[in-house]
Amino acid sequence: MSTSRDAILTRLRDNRPDPKAHPLPPVARLGDMDNGQARFENSLQILGGQVLERQEGDTLATAIARRFPDSKVICSAVPDFEGTIRIEELGTPQQAASVDVLVVRSPFGIAEMGSIYLSEAQLQDLNSAAHLTQHIVVILSAKNLTANMHTAYMDRPEFHTANYGVLMSGPSATADIQGVLIRGAQGVRTLSVWWED
């Protein structure tokens, strides 16, 4: 159907270097294999994320109330936390703009980068919520930490199954104005991790 498609592919076949001279290297599993909580927390802090403080007797709700005292709309995307609204009640992607704090569970984190992963499975098909909310609180288990980017891409099935999968490494940030680093650009202004174990 597409003539440009055929023309491009033909030109590539005519012009390319000899494929035999450029074999594909085997997949690499390199680098530091530490998948510990301390490494994750250190990386998270470098990227501007934080660990949500857990004081004696705290529940997730009390910890959020202390950290975000002015927030009105607390949206839950998990069954074990209530919030003021459930993510399923937001009818359109745009409605997520009313959320102050989104609470969501991440299936895994990456110790090398302090990254947490979210897909439509955790966001109940409302992917915009992870970006329109002012703040995000991510529930994570230390058991679900993978060491680095190699182990993440090789071992986690989500990269092959999710339609939308984001690795968030701290909050949104920019240094586009005179090189000044600003945490909290256009997406979430803060990202906090809540250890569930």
Binding site: S2, S4, A7, I8, L9, R11, L12, D14, N15, R16, P17, D18, P19, A21, H22, L24, P25, V27, A28, L30, G31, L47, G48, P93, Q94, A97, M113, S115, N127, S128, A130, H131, L132, M149, H150, T151, Y153, M154, F159, A162, N163, Y164, G165, V166, L167, M168, S169, P171, S172, A173, T174, D176, I177, Q178, G179, V180, I182, A185, Q186, G187
Partner: protein
């Protein structure tokens, strides 16, 4: 009519005149280079990552038609509409048609060098589509009606007062605002309503994974994810060279990209798009625009390995002191100087000369492109194709003659010494000698090495020969 070559030297001169801007630009980019070095030193496997990244990219380029077909088949299975554009005009037409079909009048987009290449905004806006750049730096450049001056930090040549002035004009904010924090906040406030009411969203793509039919977008501000997830239509414009074979290869590239670009371990957002989100439509436009032609250029095809990190720009002394806009092209800096001539040999014939050939670009390149060697090869190609500027060509021609004939050369050198010490300045420092604009010519020596050698050593040697 023949196009005029970009006058890089002249534009750079204007940039250099403004010391405050140039000094900041120079220091800011050098700071990024140093942060990159810091990240590199943390990883003992850095050189192995580079070697693998280079090998994966070379393999992919040598097998590009097969990988593109594999990507297309998998993407279609995932529900993505895949389009092919031979050039910028076809890309713009395709995007225009998708938008028209959806009745979309407002498009929010994240930064994409390919859409710059295609001049997409200039095509869509007269057709009634309001295009809003959502990346802060790119938005500043859009409002200021300028091209991005750097592929990663598009407004790096501007200072806070410049941005305050632009925002005051377009967002009606305080023209004397001198806080980057508050200006960035103004951008967030201005962008939100546009994002929430947009009909369509557009992103680029840093990597395309053949195995899964996915594409990966690496950003920091969150604007690309907003552009992709808020409107019900997502169009991604991607160059055909962005392929990698396997998802597992992404580990190598993600570990290199942001460390090389900004000296941060990873971008704040690394997003994997494998299909449309619920209730939405997704299109991928694969753009050739000269790439398939470049693949056939024996000396230059490896420039297609580029992952657009900008490390070569940050390290380049010429780029840091001349500013991205002086290159007059979508791609500036060392990488721009080796790919721009493939778009238009005459127009960009001056760019391969904007280099000291120090090789630093090659040393920092995460995918090991031999940038400085390609700069040199381009100079030769341009000379062969008679695309050298008149003065450079004539001077080279004369130099070639002189150097080829020792007697003539020696006579000329002796003459030069006389000239340097006796000729008035206006003869020595004029338009024939741009080198002398910001430099002084060396002091003439009393005697050339050759004549000294003839007088002293040659005599001694003769004597030694005689006595032996």
């Amino acid at each position: 009519m023949k196009v005029k070559p970009v006058n890089h030297a002249k534009a750079a001169e204007a940039f250099i005149e403004d010391t405050a801007h140039m000094d900041f630009h120079d220091e800011r980019l050098w700071d990024l280079r140093q942060k990159r070095d810091g990240q590199m030193h943390i990883l003992p496997e850095w050189q192995e990552l580079r070697a693998r990244a280079s090998a994966i990219k070379e393999h992919t380029l040598a097998n590009l038609p097969e990988y593109l077909e594999q990507f297309e088949a998998n993407a279609k299975k995932n529900g993505i509409h895949v389009h092919w554009a031979a050039d910028g005009a076809e890309h713009n037409r395709i995007v225009g048609e998708i938008l028209e079909k959806h009745g979309a009048k407002s498009l929010i987009k994240s930064k994409s060098m390919v859409t710059e290449e295609c001049c997409m905004r200039e095509y869509l806006e007269p057709r009634g589509v309001v295009v809003t750049e959502t990346d802060l730096g790119e938005r500043i450049q859009q409002l200021d009606n300028q091209m991005p001056s750097h592929i990663v930090v598009p407004a790096v040549h501007k200072l806070i007062p410049d941005v305050a002035k632009i925002f005051a004009e377009h967002y009606h904010t305080d023209p004397n605002d001198n806080s980057a924090q508050s200006l960035a906040w103004q951008q967030r406030l201005a962008a939100r309503p546009v994002i929430l009411s947009a009909d369509a969203g557009m992103t680029g793509g840093n990597f395309v994974v053949a195995e899964t039919g996915s594409f990966v977008v690496c950003t920091n501000e969150g604007n690309a994810d907003l552009s992709a997830t808020v409107p019900g239509l997502h169009i991604a414009t991607i160059g055909i060279e962005r392929l990698v074979p396997r998802m597992a290869d992404m580990g190598v590239f993600i570990r290199l990209l942001s460390r090389s670009a900004l000296g941060s371990p990873i971008t704040q957002y690394t997003t994997h798009f494998r299909g449309p989100q619920k209730g939405s439509e997704m299109h991928v436009v694969l753009v050739d625009n000269g790439r398939s032609h470049r693949l056939g250029m024996e000396d230059f095809w490896t420039s297609l390995k580029c992952i657009r990190c900008g490390a070569c720009m940050n390290t380049c002394p010429v780029y840091r002191r001349s500013g991205g806009l002086s290159y007059g092209a979508v791609y500036s800096g060392p990488i721009g100087a080796i790919i721009d001539p493939t778009f238009n040999e005459r127009k960009y014939s001056t760019l391969p000369f904007a280099s000291t050939m120090n090789g630093s670009c090659t040393n920092v390149c995460p995918v090991k492109i031999n940038i400085h060697e390609q700069l040199y090869k381009w100079r030769r190609v341009l000379a062969e194709h008679h695309e050298l500027p008149f003065v450079k060509r004539e001077v080279m021609h004369m130099a070639g003659k002189l150097m080829g004939q020792p007697t003539l050369y020696r006579a000329a050198i002796n003459g030069t010494e006389v000239a340097l010490s006796t000729m008035p300045r206006f003869v020595l420092y004029n338009w024939l000698n741009p080198w002398g604009k910001h430099r002084e010519l060396p002091h003439p020596v009393k005697q050339t090495f050759h004549s000294w050698y003839k007088q002293n050593r040659l005599k001694t040697k003769k004597k030694e020969g005689e006595s032996a």
